[in-house]
């Protein structure tokens, strides 16, 4: 499935496959358009995927590269960090706790090289950037992308510039700077960082901003989450997806991934019901959904879910459209619900997620409580990042025992307390 052009989602104008992201006629977003799949033999396609490497490059037929990176042997080292092929975990105890009588799965994308789904999109963007001759990687980040770009640039031997809001979680700052990137803390929120990077991308010709001028390629990387889910479920679609919404790019590309595979006959089923999750302190898309509006009014974020704190979501209108056309929805949860969501997931699945995953888990619990989940349906909860990156969110949420190193002290302080 070869990439053919960049195409405007609004007015369908087409452009060559270079580093551009905005339609020059109407400012609409550009997306990668592929050659038609008519006549493709699904069985041979499936075999090619199954024979591929344990990374997103097994889906190279569906990614926008002229020459997919070498998958095996010595050349594979030039791929950089291998992203994807993260576990899909059955979550029966979580289902039981939230009162859901169906089949619940957790897609744990914290199991990526820098512990978030951003390694997928950065893999694709950086590979395409290399094809186009760029030698500098850059990004505007709420934290996870910063980790992924800095690490991928280190792995590929590229220079990098990473722009973040100045008040990010310390774990995300440390987990970026360690890779030797040029780390730029911007005095402002993410939307300010993004504006600066849009301006810079127009001035710095040799720079590949993965989520600005490389955004059409970058965004395609998110489809690999749905490819993996479908493959892990035995080439079937789930009935429902619950996933976080920041810019709305991941949310919409998950659906696009399923649609592409349905179109070429690789899987059976239909595009899942799509439920989006936002933090109440930054919920422009959930607010527009509730109001029946197709315009997302920008907001100033104020939430512990900093990785989702985008007040001016680029793909907001498309996320709204997708939630409505699939009979899904978009909910917002409070910071307390987010903290509870992190604990709920950890206690029932052994997966420790960051605040964004707390948002997603709390939204799932809300859907169950409201009776929106259908008995017997198959639901996948998309967990996008790692709890060790947002430790403040769990500080003070549990007690521990302190004892002297002897039996009596243990009996006194632990056994008696546990029995009470």
């Amino acid at each position: 499935m070869a990439a053919e052009s960049l195409k405007c989602r609004e007015c369908s104008a087409t452009y060559p496959l270079d580093a551009r992201y905005v339609c020059e006629r109407c400012f609409g977003p550009l997306e990668v358009a592929y050659a038609s799949l008519d006549g493709t033999d699904a069985e041979s396609l499936r075999r090619r995927i199954q024979a591929g490497p344990q990374s997103i490059w097994r889906y190279a037929d569906f990614l926008p590269l002229a020459t997919p990176p070498a998958q095996f042997g010595r050349d594979s080292a030039r791929l950089g960090l291998p992203a994807g092929c993260t576990p899909l975990i059955r979550a029966d105890r979580l289902a039981e706790r939230i009162g859901f009588d169906g089949e619940l799965w957790v897609k744990n994308d914290a199991a990526n090289p820098t512990h978030s789904f951003k390694d997928r999109v950065v893999s694709v963007a950086s590979a395409r950037a290399a094809e186009l001759g760029f030698e500098v990687l850059a990004c505007a980040s709420t934290g996870n992308l910063a980790n992924a770009v800095a690490a991928q640039a280190a792995a590929l031997g590229l220079e990098s510039y990473v722009f973040i809001p100045h008040d990010l979680e310390e774990q995300k700052i440390l987990g970026t700077g360690v890779y030797g990137t040029n780390l730029v803390k911007v005095r402002g929120n993410y939307d300010d960082v993004n504006r600066l990077c849009v301006e810079l991308s127009g001035e710095k010709e040799g720079w590949a901003f993965v989520n600005v001028n490389m955004r059409p390629y970058y965004a395609e990387g998110s489809k690999t989450i749905s490819f993996e889910i479908a493959e892990e479920l035995g080439w079937e679609t789930p009935d429902r997806i619950v996933a976080p919404i920041a810019s709305g790019s991941l949310f919409t590309k998950i659906a696009k991934g399923f649609q592409e595979w349905l179109d070429c006959g690789l899987i059976t089923g239909s595009v899942p019901i799509m439920n989006g999750a936002q933090a109440a302190g930054c919920s422009p898309v959930a607010t527009a959904f509730a109001a029946g509006s197709d315009v997302c009014r920008p907001v100033k974020p104020d939430t512990i879910a900093k990785s989702l704190a985008i007040g001016n979501p680029a793909d907001g209108p498309y996320a709204l459209d997708l939630a409505r056309t699939t009979a899904g929805g978009i909910d917002a949860v409070t910071d307390d619900e987010i903290r509870h969501g992190i604990k709920l997931l950890a206690e029932t699945t052994g997966v420790f997620t960051e605040t964004a995953g707390g948002v997603t888990t709390a939204t799932l619990a809300k859907l169950a409580e409201r009776g929106d989940l259908v008995s017997g349906e198959r639901v996948v909860l998309v967990i996008t990042g790692e709890g060790l990156k947002t430790l403040d969110a769990v500080r003070g949420t549990f007690e521990s025992y302190e004892v002297d190193p002897n039996y009596a002290s243990f009996e006194q302080h632990v056994t008696q307390a546990v029995e009470v």
């Binding site: 905005v22 400012f27 993004n194 849009v198 991941l250 009014r297 985008i310 001016n312 680029a314």
Partner: protein, 91 residues
């Protein structure tokens, strides 16, 4: 009442490559009208038929998105700066 209007790269080729233009006006709407008077070809790139900004166009005054201010009625100071940027980025 001259205001500097900074243009994104996507609009520069249309007007011969300049990265900014000068216009006069006391509000965003007046400044943009001034820009359109000088460069009519920019109008339908930035605005729809009703004169509202296209949905993927962001306009900033003093670094702030005008949707947080008074929209097209946002005042612009003399010698001030208005910046036009594409909305589709990030995330």
């Amino acid at each position: 009442m001259a205001v500097t209007v900074k243009l994104p790269t996507q609009l520069r080729a249309t007007i011969g490559g300049a990265s900014s233009v000068e216009a006069t006006g006391a509000t965003v709407a007046e400044v943009l009208d001034g820009v359109y008077a000088e460069h009519p070809e920019l109008r339908d790139r930035i605005a729809d038929e009703s004169g509202e900004l296209r949905r993927f166009v962001n306009v900033y005054v003093g670094g702030e998105d005008i949707r947080f201010l008074e929209g097209l009625a946002t005042p612009v100071a003399d010698n001030g700066e208005l910046q036009i940027l594409p909305a589709v980025a990030g995330g």
